[in-house]
C-alpha cells in the first residue's frame, strides 16, 4: 500500500531496516506495518501530522519503547542484519550504538564536562576522558564556546547550546546511528540553523534519522523522506521527489499544506 521509491544504498549495507514494524499501546495501534530501509551516512526524515506515529517509530529503532510497559512492538528492526528485538539482544548495548537526541534539551544537572563524560563512564570507558570530551564537543560544534568553562553547570548554557551539548553527549559513546526527535523544535531560528548545519556535517560520520514536523526543515536537510499518516507509511523516497513531485495524493496534500 505504501509507495516506496527506490532507495539507493550505494555499496554499503543499509544502516537500519525496519520490516513490518507495528506498535500497539493497549488496543490502539500507533504504528501500522511499516517497512523501510535507512541507508548509511544519509539523513532520513520522518514527517507527518501530529500523532501519526513518527516518534513512536523512531523509538523502535533503539528499543526505547521497552521503557513503556504498555507498548508492544511487533516486526523486526535489522541492524547490521541482526534483528534488534531478538530475546538475546541486550537493549542497553543497542542504545549505546544507536543514540538519541530529544525534543527538549535535557542536559543532566551536572557540569558540562560531566554531561559529556557520563555516557563513556557508564559504559566503562578507560581511555583519556579529556580527549573524548573535547572530541565530542568539537563534533557538536560547541567546543569553541565552552572550552574555557567545562566545569560550569550545563544549565548556564542557552537553549541552542544545551541541545548541542546533548548531541555531544550522545556522540561521546561513539554510536553508529543518531536518532533525533524534533531536535530543533524548541529552539529559535538561529539555533535551529546551527543544528541543521551540524546535522549536515555529522552525516559524514554517522547515519541520522530525524523526526520533524517542520516540512521545510525536512526538505533542507534530509536525503530521504518518509511520510507517515495515522501510523501508516504512505510514501518513502528521495527528498527532492517527495517535495517536487510526490506520487501519492495524500503526500501531495500534506506537503502542499492542505492538511496537517
Amino acid at each position: 500500500m505504501a509507495t516506496v521509491h527506490d532507495i539507493d544504498t550505494g555499496l554499503r549495507s543499509p544502516a537500519l531496516e525496519a520490516r513490518d514494524v507495528s506498535v500497539h499501546y493497549g488496543s490502539k495501534r500507533a504504528v501500522d506495518d511499516v517497512s523501510l530501509v535507512v541507508p548509511s551516512n544519509q539523513v532520513v526524515a520522518l514527517i507527518g501530522p501530529s500523532g501519526c506515529g513518527k516518534s513512536t517509530l523512531l523509538r523502535c529503532f533503539n528499543r526505547m519503547n521497552d521503557l513503556l510497559p504498555a507498548a508492544k512492538v511487533d516486526g523486526e528492526v535489522l541492524f547490521h542484519g541482526q534483528n534488534l528485538y531478538q530475546p538475546e539482544i541486550d537493549p542497553v548495548e543497542v542504545r549505546r550504538r544507536i543514540g538519541m537526541v530529544f525534543q527538549k534539551p535535557n542536559p543532566f544537572p551536572k557540569s558540562i564536562f560531566d554531561n559529556v563524560a557520563f555516557g563513556p563512564r557508564i559504559n566503562g570507558f578507560g581511555g583519556n576522558m579529556n580527549e573524548r570530551v573535547e572530541e565530542s564537543l568539537r563534533q557538536a560544534a560547541l567546543w569553541d564556546e565552552v572550552s574555557d568553562r567545562l566545569d560550569d553547570s550545563a544549565y548556564a548554557l542557552s537553549g541552542g547550546q544545551q541541545q548541542r551539548l546533548c548531541i555531544a553527549r550522545t556522540l561521546a559513546v561513539r554510536p553508529e546511528i543518531v536518532l533525533m526527535d524534533e531536535p530543533a523544535s524548541a529552539l529559535d531560528p538561529i539555533a535551529t540553523q546551527k543544528i541543521e548545519e551540524l546535522i549536515f556535517e555529522l552525516k559524514k560520520q554517522y547515519t541520522i534519522v530525524i523526526v520533524t514536523h517542520n516540512m521545510q526543515q525536512a526538505a533542507r536537510i534530509s536525503d530521504y523522506t518518509a511520510f507517515l499518516y495515522m501510523g501508516e507509511l504512505i510514501e518513502y523516497g528521495p527528498t527532492d521527489m517527495i517535495f517536487t513531485n510526490p506520487t501519492e495524493e495524500r503526500t501531495e496534500a500534506y506537503v502542499t499544506g492542505r492538511f496537517g
Binding site: P69, R96, I122, Y155
Partner: protein, 301 residues
C-alpha cells in the same frame, strides 16, 4: 456592561464602576479572612511559647543540662534524657534511612505497575496514619519480648524506625517522582542500565527531597512519647546509656514525668526541658532547610 458596549463608550480608567467596587470589596474581605485564620494559628503558638519561656527560662543553666534527675526539683537535670534522645535519634536514622530509601527506589523505579504494587502503596499511606501507640504495642511484642531485646535503645530505635518508615518512604517517593523523566530518558538513551540511571541520576537529584523528608520524620520521632513508654523506657535513670542494649529515657518522657508531679517547681523544670526539646527540633528543621537550599543552589548554578 455588555461586551459590545465597551467599544462605544470608552471608560475613564480612573473611575471604577459599581461592579469593580464590589469585586474589590470581596477580594479584600477574603484577604482579611485568610489573614485572620493565619493569625489564630500564629497567635496561639506565640502564646504557648511565651508561656513556656516565662516558666522555664530561669531554670536553664549548664547544671540543668548536666545533672541527672532527682527527687528535688532544684537539683534535677536532663542529662540522661538528653543523651537518650540523641542516641535514639542516631540509631533510628541509621535504621530507617536505608530501609525507606530502598523501599522508595523499588516502588518508583523497579516495581511493575500492577495491582500488587498499588496495594502496597495504599497500605504504606495507611500506616502513616496509624496512632503511634499501636507501634508501641508492636514494638513491645516483637522487639522487647519476641526478639528478647529487652527495654533497650535498640528496641526503642527499631520501634521508632517502623513508625517513621511510611513517612520517609512517601517523602522519598515524592522526591524521586519529582525527578523529570526527560533525565531518565536521556540516561537510558546513552545505554545506561536501570541501576546506573537510579544511582547516578535519580538518587542524586532526589537527595535533597529525601533528606528533608527524613529530617522532618526524625523530628517527629524525637517528640514521640507513647511508643517509648510502651516499650518500657524509664523515666528515672541516673546513668547515660553506654551501648545499644542499655536502658534509656528520652526528653518527652522526662517532661511528662515532671509535669505529672504536683508542685510548681517541677513544672518549671519541665518547661525548661520543653525549651530544650523545642530548640532541638528547631535546629533539626533548620538543618533540613539549609540542606535543601544548598542542594538547589548547586543545581541551578
Amino acid at each position: 456592561m455588555r461586551f459590545d458596549e465597551r467599544a462605544e463608550a470608552p471608560r475613564d480608567l480612573g473611575r471604577p464602576s459599581p461592579g469593580d467596587r464590589r469585586r474589590r470589596t470581596l477580594g479584600t474581605l477574603f484577604l482579611l479572612l485568610c489573614f485572620a485564620a493565619t493569625s489564630v494559628g500564629v497567635v496561639s503558638l506565640m502564646v504557648l511559647l511565651v508561656d513556656v519561656l516565662m516558666d522555664g527560662v530561669a531554670q536553664l543553666d549548664p547544671e540543668f543540662l548536666s545533672s541527672y534527675a532527682s527527687r528535688f526539683a532544684d537539683r534535677a537535670g536532663i542529662r540522661a534524657p538528653l543523651f537518650g534522645t540523641f542516641w535514639i535519634l542516631l540509631l533510628t536514622a541509621v535504621i530507617a534511612f536505608p530501609l525507606s530509601v530502598g523501599a522508595a527506589v523499588y516502588l518508583e523505579e523497579y516495581a511493575p505497575r500492577n495491582w500488587i504494587t498499588r496495594i502496597i502503596q495504599v497500605n504504606i499511606a495507611n500506616l502513616a496514619g496509624v496512632p503511634s501507640i499501636v507501634y508501641g504495642i508492636l514494638g513491645l511484642a516483637v522487639f522487647v519480648r519476641g526478639m528478647g531485646l529487652g527495654r533497650s535503645l535498640l528496641s526503642g530505635a527499631l520501634t521508632l524506625s517502623i513508625l517513621i518508615l511510611p513517612v520517609i518512604i512517601m517523602a522519598s517517593q515524592e522526591a524521586i517522582r519529582a525527578v523529570p523523566d526527560s533525565i531518565r530518558q536521556a540516561a537510558y538513551g546513552l545505554g545506561a542500565t536501570r541501576w546506573q540511571v537510579t544511582r547516578r541520576q535519580v538518587l542524586p537529584m532526589a537527595l535533597p527531597g529525601i533528606l528533608t523528608g527524613t529530617i522532618l520524620a526524625l523530628s517527629r520521632a524525637v517528640g514521640e512519647t507513647a511508643p517509648l513508654i510502651m516499650i518500657g523506657a524509664l523515666s528515672f535513670i541516673a546513668f547515660t546509656p553506654q551501648g545499644v542494649m542499655d536502658q534509656f529515657t528520652v526528653l518527652p518522657l522526662q517532661i511528662y514525668n515532671w509535669i505529672s508531679r504536683p508542685g510548681d517547681d517541677f513544672h518549671a523544670i519541665a518547661a525548661a526541658a520543653i525549651i530544650v526539646l523545642l530548640v532541638m527540633l528547631l535546629a533539626m528543621n533548620a538543618v533540613a532547610i539549609l540542606l535543601r537550599n544548598r542542594f538547589s543552589r548547586m543545581r541551578s548554578n
